[in-house]
């Protein structure tokens, strides 16, 4: 059997052949018994595959909607967390801003010592502070 004609035969199920190709295929189909049998077989295979039907198990919608609910809850949690972080951030920035103004008004330079009040502390009075109760 001609390979080109067989290819044409298989393609004829899935696309419209040009008039010339259609004519060639029909001509061969009339004279070639093997090609006729091939056409029948392809048709049968396609019918078998087309008959396949698949379904999800019952209550599929419920499972999908419960998954979506879980996702929504997660999103809610994240947005609430973000809201809290936003509050903390605003509070932190406000505190830092106030501190900067205080430093500016008092004329002290911005340093670790000034920020935490360790400017007047040395190792001697630190040990004295830790060893003796006031």
């Amino acid at each position: 059997m001609n390979k080109k004609i067989t290819k044409l035969l298989i393609h004829s199920f899935d696309k419209d052949l040009s008039p010339d190709k259609k004519k060639l295929l029909n001509k061969n189909l009339k004279s070639d018994k093997e090609l006729q049998s091939q056409k029948k077989k392809i048709k049968e295979v396609r019918e078998l595959i087309k008959k396949q039907d698949y379904q999800f198990k019952p209550f599929f919608e419920t499972r999908v909607m419960s998954k979506i609910d879980n996702i929504k809850n997660e999103i809610d949690f994240i947005s609430r967390l973000f809201f809290i972080y936003k509050k903390i951030l605003v509070f932190g920035f406000s505190a830092a801003f106030i501190l900067l103004i205080v430093f500016y008004l008092t004329g002290n330079p911005l340093s670790f010592d000034n920020l935490f009040g360790t400017k007047y502390m040395n190792t001697d009075n630190l040990s004295a502070f830790l060893m003796f109760d006031n």
């Binding site: 899935d14 698949y54 979506i68």
Partner: protein, 185 residues
């Protein structure tokens, strides 16, 4: 909920976009069969197929604001279903590499189908025959023959040239003919 069933997809999608999530279930009911045909056809009737089905609808729900309606909703969902199924098949293959005993995506051979001819019904045999195909061939067969998409639609869903779809279909049918020779006259 019953009155909403009669509305078209775009109307329901707009409702979901406006926060009425409960009506999403109408879309799931409407398209679950089409999605099942794609996913179970690709993966077989297994527990993961149900999960992949859920994942398909969840992905659509998450991206519903990006859905502009350029293609029909069924086609859009089938595209997601095919992509999620192909990912699942890749995952299975990776798993098979690490755990040699995992047979979930073992390539089924023609001999396997022939040995099961007496024990199974036609549907199961055809299922096994489809599973003998590699994923790239299986996807065109499922979309074109099981889902009934045209060759052009199949090419669009898989993002392939029409020529490639035709050649894959042709090779797949030749193989299926060999595998199913006992079922055809």
């Amino acid at each position: 909920m019953n009155s909403i069933d009669t509305h078209d997809d775009n109307y329901i999608i707009e409702l979901v976009k406006n926060g009425n999530d409960a009506v999403f279930t109408v879309l799931v009911t409407r398209y679950k069969h089409q999605v099942a045909k794609t996913i179970i056809g690709m993966l077989g009737d297994c527990a993961e197929a149900d999960d992949v089905g859920q994942e398909t609808f969840v992905r659509f729900y998450k991206s519903i604001n990006n859905f502009r309606g350029d293609s029909a909703l069924g086609t859009y969902l089938t595209r997601i279903a095919i992509n999620v199924s192909l990912n699942e098949l890749k995952k299975r293959k990776r798993k098979q590499l690490f755990f040699l005993s995992d047979n979930s995506e073992r390539q089924i051979e023609i001999s396997d189908v022939n040995s099961d001819f007496k024990n199974n019904d036609t549907k199961e045999i055809v299922d096994m025959a489809i599973k003998t195909l590699k994923p790239e061939f299986r996807s065109v067969v499922i979309l074109r023959l099981v889902n009934g998409y045209s060759t052009k639609e199949t090419a669009e869903i898989l993002n392939l040239p029409i020529g490639t779809v035709l050649s894959r279909l042709s090779r797949a049918q030749i193989k299926l003919q060999k595998v199913l020779k006992k079922l055809i006259t």
